[in-house]
Each structure stands twice: as structure tokens, then as C-alpha cells.
């Protein structure tokens, strides 16, 4: 389907980004998957090409482009078949830098955003804790002011780039007894004494390092506080919309790519004397999946259009992530089945897709949390509108 949201510049960007990935990244993906991390030089290369700052202001080295460039970038990254690689890049440019771009002051942007866009400093966003995942208000990491410093104690887990990043944008309680209005965001340099991290072994997303970070009496200057004290929860909610929309893009884009490689395989593989793309049940499965992918994609596109207009989209973005991540679980499951025994083998693409998709319904708010949010908005009249 030709989506009219894209103009000629978008199409040229898509082509050049696709070429870049296939020439410079694709040949090394298996290595990154095995190593469990993306090397620093890749961030620098992305930085040189301008890919880390597509939507950020030119004043800080960004490209000041519209949101569709980010959509294209997310879609194309799925063609690498490495959810971990995309996550490693996205957690830096789409999460950590987004918080700094949103709430950072001039000095902070000068340092972290500018160098982050160049790929010279790598960031991570640390919200989840061992005892509280999607339950943000219950977080326990504290930042207690001691004259011109905060002293930070606590731990964070499931943090993408949690081990290898240079700085951590962390959600902390500056007022430990308060609930959501006690939460603040703070930038913590990796080399600050008392910061330690361990690598987590995961089912999928293997090319990204995911870590558990612990803070023990970490002294951070108060100038590292991001935005206004006590506003952290609002910042987090604002960025959840873009994060969830991006994860919805991953949902349909991974599905599209899975379908593409599966159709290719089905045209080549024979069973009982004919290509397996001639069997009715399999053809109908393909048709059903294609229909659902198209519906999801169109919904997500419609939300990006409204996002550009500044609409309040907490409910819709939650819906989009809910359905699109369920979709990619279903599509990768069914596509793997089309590959038969080869589907279970690492030499074929579906094994990795199957592992990688499964985080979709967990990360960035589990499907259950999304249903909570949607039902609270619909039934209880809750309002998460933070722009007012």
C-alpha cells in the first residue's frame, strides 16, 4: 500500500537508510548478537550520518526533521532482524536523548544532547526497578539533597544500554514519602563512584546490553537534575506516548518483514510435490496476517498524523502498542511454523524474530498495564494529559 504520508524526501531517506544498514550494519549483526552489545563505533557512525538526531534541533547538531523520519528509521531497522540492535540505538536516541531534549537546560543539552547526537556519548533511560516495573509511582531509588549534591541510593533493572552507556537518565524519588510528585529525573554519569551494573541474559534482544544498575551513595551535583524537581512522573508519561507509538511501529514493521521472508521461503519450499504456498490453509493464514498488519499500520499512521497536530494520545498510543505487539507475536509464531524444522534453527530468520518479538508485550508498559490505562481513561474518566 502506498501511504500518502510520505513525500519524495521521505522516500529518498528510506532508500539511503536502507542502503546504509545493509552495507554497514547487516554484515555484522550476528557478531553483535553473539557479543550482546553494539560497539561504540556504530553509534559514532550513526552520529556521523545524522541518524541519532533526526528530530532534534539543529542548534544541538540535530536535523530538525519531522516525525515521519523517525517512523521510517524504526520501520527500516526491523529489516535487520535484530530487535536488540534497534533497541540499543533507540534506547539512546529515542529514550535517553528525548528526555534531555524535552526537559534539559542549555548546559545539559550542550553536553549530553550534542554529544549524544554525535554518538560520542551513549545514554540509557532507567525507570524500572527490581520491585517495580510498570508501577512507576512505587519506585524506591532515592536522591536525597546534601547541600549542592544529591546522594542516590537504589537499583534499576531491565535497562537497555544499562551496562555500556556513558550516562544514565534515571527516575528517582527526591521526596521519598511522596507518590508521583516525589519523582524527579536526574542525569548520572557512568563513572561516578558508587554506580555499578551487571549484564542480564535474556530470551531475545541479544544484541543490546540489558543491565541491572545499582547506586550506592552516588553523589551527583544538583545541576544534573533534569527539568523541575517533582515533575519526573509527568515527563515519563509524556515520553511514554512516543515510546509506545515507536513500539507499535516495531509491531507491524517486524510483522511485515516476517511475512516478506516467509512468502519467499514458501515459494521455494516444496512438500507433497508442490510449493507450500499452494496449500489453501497456509494461503489463508497469509491473507489473514496481511489484513491485520495493514489495519495496525494504518491505525498507527493515523496516530502519528494526530501527534503532529499535538493531540493528546495516551489512550490511543496504548491501544496501538497493545494490538501491534500482540500482532507481531502472532505473526512471528505463524511464520515460524511455515518454516517447519528450519524455523527452530538459528540459521533461518524466524528463530530470532520469535525471540525478539516477545519483549513487545512487556517492555514500555506491559499489555496488562496498557489495558489498565485504557480502562481507566474509558471507565473512570482518568486524564493523563500533561500538556495543560
Amino acid at each position: 500500500m502506498n501511504h500518502s504520508v510520505y513525500n519524495e524526501d521521505h522516500r529518498l531517506f528510506r532508500q539511503s537508510f536502507r542502503d546504509f544498514l545493509s552495507q554497514e550494519i547487516q554484515p555484522h549483526i550476528d557478531k553483535y548478537e553473539a557479543q550482546g552489545k553494539v560497539p561504540r563505533s556504530v553509534y559514532e557512525r550513526f552520529g556521523e550520518m545524522g541518524y541519532l538526531g533526526l528530530g532534534y534541533a539543529e542548534a544541538y547538531g540535530g536535523m530538525d526533521l519531522d516525525i515521519w523520519y523517525n517512523v521510517i528509521m524504526a520501520e527500516e531497522m526491523n529489516r535487520l532482524n535484530s530487535g536488540g540492535f534497534a533497541a540499543a540505538i533507540g534506547a539512546h536516541s529515542g529514550l535517553a536523548l528525548a528526555h534531555i531534549n524535552g526537559a534539559g537546560n542549555k548546559n545539559q543539552k550542550e553536553k549530553y544532547l550534542r554529544q549524544g547526537i554525535k554518538g560520542q556519548l551513549i545514554g540509557c533511560l532507567a525507570i524500572s526497578e527490581p520491585d517495580g516495573g510498570s508501577d512507576v509511582q512505587a519506585l524506591r531509588t532515592t536522591a536525597i539533597q546534601d547541600s549542592d549534591h544529591y546522594i542516590i541510593n537504589g537499583s534499576k533493572t531491565f535497562i537497555t544500554n544499562g551496562v555500556n552507556s556513558d550516562f544514565i537518565v534515571a527516575a528517582v524519588k527526591t521526596k521519598p514519602l511522596a507518590k508521583s510528585h516525589g519523582i524527579s529525573m536526574i542525569i548520572i554519569d557512568r563513572d561516578t563512584p558508587g554506580v555499578t551494573a551487571t549484564h542480564l541474559n535474556k530470551l531475545g534482544w541479544r544484541a543490546s546490553d540489558t543491565g541491572e544498575i545499582s547506586f550506592q551513595d552516588v553523589r551527583v551535583p544538583i545541576s544534573q537534575l533534569l527539568g523541575i524537581e517533582g515533575q519526573g512522573f509527568l515527563y515519563i508519561m509524556q515520553h511514554f506516548v512516543t515510546e509506545r507509538l515507536a513500539m507499535a511501529v516495531n509491531g507491524y514493521a517486524l510483522s511485515e518483514y516476517a511475512l516478506e521472508v516467509t512468502l519467499q521461503y514458501m515459494s521455494e519450499r516444496k512438500a507433497f510435490g508442490r510449493s507450500i504456498n499452494k496449500f489453501q490453509v497456509l494461503r489463508h493464514r497469509i491473507a489473514q496476517m496481511a489484513a491485520e498488519i495493514e489495519m495496525n499500520k494504518s491505525f498507527v499512521y493515523s496516530l502519528y498524523r494526530r501527534y503532529q497536530e499535538g493531540a493528546y494520545l495516551v489512550k490511543e498510543a496504548s491501544m496501538a502498542k497493545l494490538l501491534a505487539t500482540q500482532l507481531s507475536d502472532k505473526v512471528t509464531t505463524q511464520c515460524l511454523q511455515m518454516f517447519g524444522g528450519y524455523g527452530f534453527m538459528e540459521d533461518y530468520p524466524l528463530a530470532r524474530m520469535y525471540r525478539d518479538t516477545r519483549i513487545g508485550q512487556i517492555g514500555g508498559g506491559t499489555s496488562e498495564i496498557l489495558c489498565e490505562i485504557i480502562s481507566k481513561i474509558m471507565i473512570d474518566g482518568a486524564n493523563y494529559n500533561t500538556t495543560k
Binding site: S128, Q337, R358
Partner: protein, 405 residues
């Protein structure tokens, strides 16, 4: 826990079953779990896992004592498969060895082959694999291309096999091949091929989505001279033997699936009871309660069906269709259970050290191996539509005859 609402399992009711269950648990705790991570890294389990199972009498449980087996009925094999699945055992693939490979030899093999292989298999000194699938043929067994030509005093074996469970660590393989390729009677035969025969080579263990501590690989045969008497049963009867054994093979998968599902539900009950979110254990959320209730209900229904099939199998009355339904249904159930249980674990469900992450990765292949679930549906529907199937077959036959005349 699931056992709190479970119906009594008649098939495992005896004292002896309880003793075997205890032995299995001890074996897994002592011999398997401490080594599992290392085995995952190397891609196969140590030989000692086999020999220690042999010492405990856990191999060839339902084969006759005359050849070193346990002399028990199939329900003991079922118990072993299920208990091992509950506790998360993947390797060694005892069931493939004992309930499939050894059974071919005992059922159809000559006295010589039985003497040569079965007692050592029971001790874990010989390990057997079954080589049917080829790169170009998965479930389409009749399209096998591996050939064994009669050279008087030996068979000359050529071809290759893939996706062979314990192919890399086994000391011999039962190989399905065509002994009269290109003729009207090209039917399949089964040969026992020792791993040390010249010309028999093995690929490296595949890197797989799951089952990482169990080796799966390719086998290559290049002018392998297989002794003439290493054929199982009669020449050309391989397909029929394989069809006769299918119900048992499919049941081993179905039993394993209900075991994994039970283990996953129990893991999850523990997790949601301890894990707090929004100041309540996750077990306090209605969504969690209903999800677990649904899964436990489905598991109970499948357990009853599987138990019935196990009983029929023990008396050789189980049909291929019933076994196919058990395999299809139980593997779909397992996949649903591990998926929803992983979800209830939240982020921890994605972390490898949690049992549910492993169960999730391992479960995916159950809908593929032992005949894909699509093949199960083919078999079930053929019988279900038997009048149509018979008419269509007759029609095809008439058309062939017309062509010939």
C-alpha cells in the same frame, strides 16, 4: 498449586509409580540442574547424564527385563516424561532413546540386534538416535532420498539426514532409507548404523531457538558399509513400522507438553504470590486469577484425554488419529500456557535464568517436531472425512488406470 485442584491420576496411582517419581526427581536435582547451564553453552549434555540415568534404572523403563529394560508398562515411561517436563529437563533426551529408538529394536529387531544394543542402551553405554528427516523432506516421509544398496555382505549407504535429536552424541542411529531406489518396491527400510563406521560423519550441533542443551544435527553417509544383519525387521517394511510406532511417538510429545504446562503454571503461581505491584501481590489482580483459572482448566481437560490415551497405548489400542489429536491439542495448550505465564512474570519472564523464559523458548518446537501440527490436522481430517477420503482415493486410482490404458 495445580495439584490442589487436580483430579486423581489413576495411571500413576501405584506405590511403584511413587518410587519411580522420587527417583526421577532425585536424578534431575542431582545430575541435571547443576550442569544445565554448562550443557546449554556446549550444546549437548555429558555422557555421564546417560550412564547415571542407566544406573538408576531410568532408561528403557518399559522394555522387557530380558534385555535389561525395566519390565514396566508404558505408564512408567509416561510418568518419567511428564515429571521431567514439570521440572524442566531437556537433556538427556531419555524418551527419544528409550521410548522410540529402543522400541524399534525390541519390536522389530532380530535377536542379534536386541542382544547387541538393548542391554547397553539400558545402561546408557549406547545412545540411539532416529534419523528420518532429510533436508528436502520433513513430514513427507515417502520422499526420502537416502539409499542403501545391497552389496551382498553389506548395505552401501549414501545420503544425509537433518534435525536429528541427539544425533551428535548418539553412538548409533536408526536410519530410514530406500533399499531399492527407482523400482516399484522402493519401500523404506530401517538400518542400524554405528557412529564409528567409516563414511558416517556428523554435523556440528545446530544453534537453535530453544532446547539448547540437547544436540540436534545433520548426519552424512558417504559409502558407509553397514553390516547386512543391521537391518531392523524386513526389508521394505520401514514405512509400516514407522506408521505403527507413530502413536507412541506422538504421545511422548503430548505427555511432555502437559508436564511443561503444569510446571509453568506452578512456577507462575509461586511468582505471582510473591511479586508485589501497586502494593498487592500480582495474585490479587483479577486478571491474574482468571488467566490462571483458564489455563488450569484447560490443562485438566487435556490431562484427562492424555491419560486415557496412555491407557489405550499400554494395551495397544490407541489409534493414530487419537494420538495426533493428543499431540496437536497438548502442544497448542503448552504454547498458550507458557506464553501467558511468561506474560504474568513481566520483565523477569524475558530473563533467561527464570524457568519460564526457557520453557517459552523450548516449547516452540513442539508444534513442529514429531510431525508438524499441520500434518496432525491432515491425519485427523482424513479419518474424520473418511467417506470423502475413500472416494477421492478411488477417483485418483481410476484416473491413473485410464492414463495407463
Amino acid at each position: 498449586m495445580f495439584s490442589d485442584i487436580q483430579l486423581p491420576r489413576d495411571i500413576y496411582a501405584s506405590e511403584e509409580h511413587q518410587m519411580v517419581r522420587e527417583t526421577i526427581r532425585q536424578y534431575i536435582k542431582k545430575e541435571i540442574l547443576p550442569n544445565r547451564e554448562r550443557w546449554e553453552e556446549q550444546g549437548y549434555c555429558d555422557d555421564s547424564a546417560w550412564t547415571s540415568a542407566g544406573e538408576l534404572g531410568l532408561l528403557n523403563l518399559s522394555l522387557s527385563e530380558e534385555y535389561g529394560g525395566g519390565g514396566l508398562d508404558f505408564s512408567f515411561s509416561a510418568l518419567l516424561i511428564e515429571e521431567a517436563a514439570i521440572l524442566g529437563l531437556v537433556a538427556p533426551a531419555i524418551s527419544m532413546h528409550s521410548d522410540i529408538v529402543a522400541v524399534y529394536i525390541e519390536q522389530y529387531g532380530s535377536e542379534l540386534l536386541k542382544q547387541k544394543y538393548l542391554p547397553d542402551m539400558a545402561l546408557g553405554k549406547k545412545i540411539g538416535s532416529l534419523a528420518m528427516t532429510e533436508p528436502g523432506t520433513g513430514s513427507d516421509v515417502q520422499a526420502i532420498k537416502t539409499t542403501a544398496v545391497d552389496k551382498g555382505d553389506h548395505w552401501l549407504l549414501n545420503g544425509s539426514k537433518t534435525f536429528i535429536t541427539i544425533g551428535y552424541t548418539s553412538t548409533f542411529a536408526i536410519v530410514a532409507c530406500k533399499t531399492r531406489p527407482g523400482t516399484d518396491q522402493e519401500g523404506l527400510s530401517l538400518l542400524i548404523v554405528d557412529a564409528n563406521l567409516p563414511g558416517f560423519t556428523k554435523g556440528k550441533p545446530f544453534k537453535k531457538l530453544g532446547l539448547k542443551e540437547s544436540d540436534t544435527c545433520e548426519l552424512f553417509f558417504e559409502d558407509v558399509q553397514v553390516p547386512k544383519d543391521h537391518i531392523i525387521g524386513e526389508e521394505g517394511m520401514g514405512f509400516i513400522y514407522m506408521m505403527q510406532e507413530l502413536p507412541r511417538e506422538r504421545m511422548t510429545i503430548a505427555i511432555q507438553s502437559i508436564g511443561v504446562a503444569q510446571g509453568a503454571i506452578d512456577d507462575t503461581i509461586d511468582y505471582v504470590t510473591d511479586r508485589v505491584a501497586f502494593r498487592t501481590p500480582i495474585a490479587g489482580f483479577q486478571n491474574t486469577q482468571f488467566k490462571l483459572a483458564e489455563l488450569a482448566t484447560q490443562l485438566s481437560v487435556y490431562q484427562a484425554y492424555v491419560d486415557k490415551c496412555v491407557k489405550l497405548l499400554a494395551t495397544h489400542e490407541l489409534t493414530a488419529e487419537a494420538a495426533s489429536m493428543a499431540k496437536l491439542g497438548a502442544t497448542e495448550l503448552e504454547s498458550q500456557v507458557v506464553d501467558e505465564c511468561l506474560q504474568l512474570h513481566g520483565g523477569y519472564g524475558y530473563i533467561w535464568e527464570y524457568a519460564i523464559a526457557r520453557r517459552y523458548a523450548n516449547a516452540r518446537v513442539t508444534r513442529i517436531y514429531g510431525g508438524t501440527n499441520e500434518i496432525m490436522k491432515l491425519m485427523i481430517s482424513r479419518k474424520l472425512l473418511s467417506r470423502y477420503t475413500a472416494e477421492a482415493k478411488a477417483k485418483r486410482k481410476r484416473r491413473r488406470e485410464q492414463k495407463v490404458s
